[in-house]
Amino acid sequence: MSRRSSRNPWWKTALGVFFTAVMLFPVYWMFNVSLTRTADLRADPPHWFPWAPTTEGYEAVLAQQLPALGTSLLVGLGCVVLTVAIAAPAGYAVAQLRLPGRGTLNFLLLVAQMIPAVVMAMGFYAVYVRLGLLNTVGGLIVADSTIAVPFGVLLYTAFMAGIPRELLQAARVDGANTWRTFVSVVLPLSRNATLTVSLFAFLWAWSDFIFASTLDRNGDLVPITLGIYQYIGNNTTQWNAIMATAVVASVPAAVLLVVAQRFVTAGVTAGAVKD
């Protein structure tokens, strides 16, 4: 104990706490404003703490934004299902089944991640206008999944390449065909990859603004990001309600960070750092 404290002086912890506090100040401020009474929003100097907290903002969220939260949840989950259903078998084909042309495919997936979302949004708009898919939840799910699918395939490929070949051969010896091997050996072993891919697919779909604001702007069901945006446009005086919506929209990120932090880190570093 004493050895550790001599090697890791307390001032480093103090400095670390200070840096974190500075970094997270905007997040605190969002929370603070969400609890501030409308009358105090224009106070000069601003109130640093919500001394007299109000739930006005949150009541407005509950009254007006519940459908939007539901839509976002639906879009996020739909995106997870679609992404995993496409990426997991593809990763298996590239990593274990020696898919012909896998080098080219890998290359295309990397290129796909570089295409700006605004360009994809225009292309999707042009396609959806003809098919009548504008302002539909299904159309938004498909568009949102384009952010996650290339990442998902690359992550599954990297992960599944690490599964020992002997295991798959053992399954084959036991009489399992390729599909059986995939379902009962490869998929269960790839649980961590599935968690990471699902987490990011959900978070990206939940946070998406570009596709929502272009493909679903007049829909009956708009996601929460668009809910916030329309809020800003409509009543710029009600910043406590806007910030309360923002706090609520941040809940999934917070939950995922607490529950699955190591998968977040794994996802961020995947592809960027090789070892």
Binding site: T13, W29, A93, V111, M114, M120, I232, A249, L257
Partner: protein, 318 residues
């Protein structure tokens, strides 16, 4: 990742079926592979290739919203590109994109690296604090952008209030042409720090501790150790981080759009914002020039993208 091609000895005692791979034409296992990849191939064709093709198509026709629905737009060749390149917005947008992108990645990287080195020493609470640093990156961009917009607001913003306490006169961060680009860049730097911190921190983990022990035996202080050990050994990871940051930052729309919508005037308009504004930002959508700007942006992104791939390949070889 690197183990994909590794088990050469395993291939030797693989069932005979695998060895026929050397022959021309796909074998049965390869057909199985194609089957497993089929959903992805269909997906990429329908939801990547086709929208991108439609986008090229938009840029060489004169699409109005009416022609959009009826599908009878006039073919105009490269007219829209000429229109874009000669527009007075083009030089401004290009310059803003360059400033926004380079300032963002430079500061994100510098701050991220400093923090990564700081967190490397593993003091008490450091894993917890490092995890909390991820928060800004996980929040929906629109949440962060609207929070920054309120913090930077001219009359009621906390930033002006703090600066005012030090005697600085009110700055109209988002509404004056001189500071709008600076304001969105600051917000974007804040957003990118977590990504840089996580990647650089995990890059630091791969530098063996003995290198530092040797350096400190040779009498190198922390400053010297950073410049002669950490920085050179981290160079491959740094290059990838900077290039990924570049590619991400080029396409940023949400942050700028929510904070300033590219204004006032064109003062914080980047290429991505310009494209978004032409197509979706005004009451009158003008898809053809928007698609042309978008395609110019793709070309720029791909140039840096190929640089990234080249760099990655060279690293894999070494």
């Amino acid at each position: 990742m690197t183990t994909t091609e590794a088990p050469a000895p395993a291939a030797a005692d693989a069932p005979p079926g695998r060895r026929t791979r050397r022959r021309r034409g796909p074998t049965a296992p390869q057909w199985a592979a194609v089957g497993f990849a089929a959903p992805l191939l269909v997906y990429l064709t329908l939801f990547y290739a086709y929208p991108l093709w439609r986008n090229v198509d938009l840029s060489v026709h004169d699409y109005t919203i009416r022609a959009f629905v009826q599908g009878d737009a006039e073919f105009v060749g490269f007219d829209k590109y000429v229109e874009v390149f000669t527009s007075s917005t083009f030089p401004t947008a290009l310059w803003n994109t360059a400033v926004f992108t380079f300032a963002s990645i430079l500061f994100q990287y510098a701050i991220g690296l400093a923090l990564a080195v700081f967190f490397r020493s593993g003091f008490r609470l450091s894993p917890l604090l490092r995890a909390m640093f991820l928060v800004p990156w996980l929040l929906p961009l629109i949440v962060s952008a609207s929070t920054w917009a309120w913090m930077l607001s001219s009359e009621n913003g906390i930033v002006n209030s703090v600066l005012g306490a030090f005697g600085v006169p009110q700055i109209n961060w988002l509404t004056s042409p001189g500071t709008a680009l600076l304001a969105v860049t600051i917000a974007n730097i804040w957003l990118g720090i977590p990504f840089n911190l996580v990647i650089l921190h995990s890059g630091l983990q791969s530098i063996p501790g003995e290198v530092y022990e040797a350096a400190s035996l040779d009498g190198a202080g922390p400053w010297r150790q950073f410049w002669s050990v950490t920085f050179p050994l981290l160079r491959p990871v740094s290059a990838i981080t900077l290039l990924l940051g570049l590619i991400y930052t080029l396409k940023v729309v949400d942050v700028i759009w929510v904070m300033t919508t590219g204004g006032p005037g064109d003062s914080s308009t980047t290429l991505a914002i310009w494209s978004y504004r032409e197509a979706f930002g005004t009451g009158q959508p003008d898809f053809s020039p928007a698609a042309a700007v978008g395609n110019v942006l793709i070309v720029i992104a791909l140039v840096f993208g190929f640089l990234h791939l080249q760099l990655q390949r060279r690293q894999e070889e070494s």
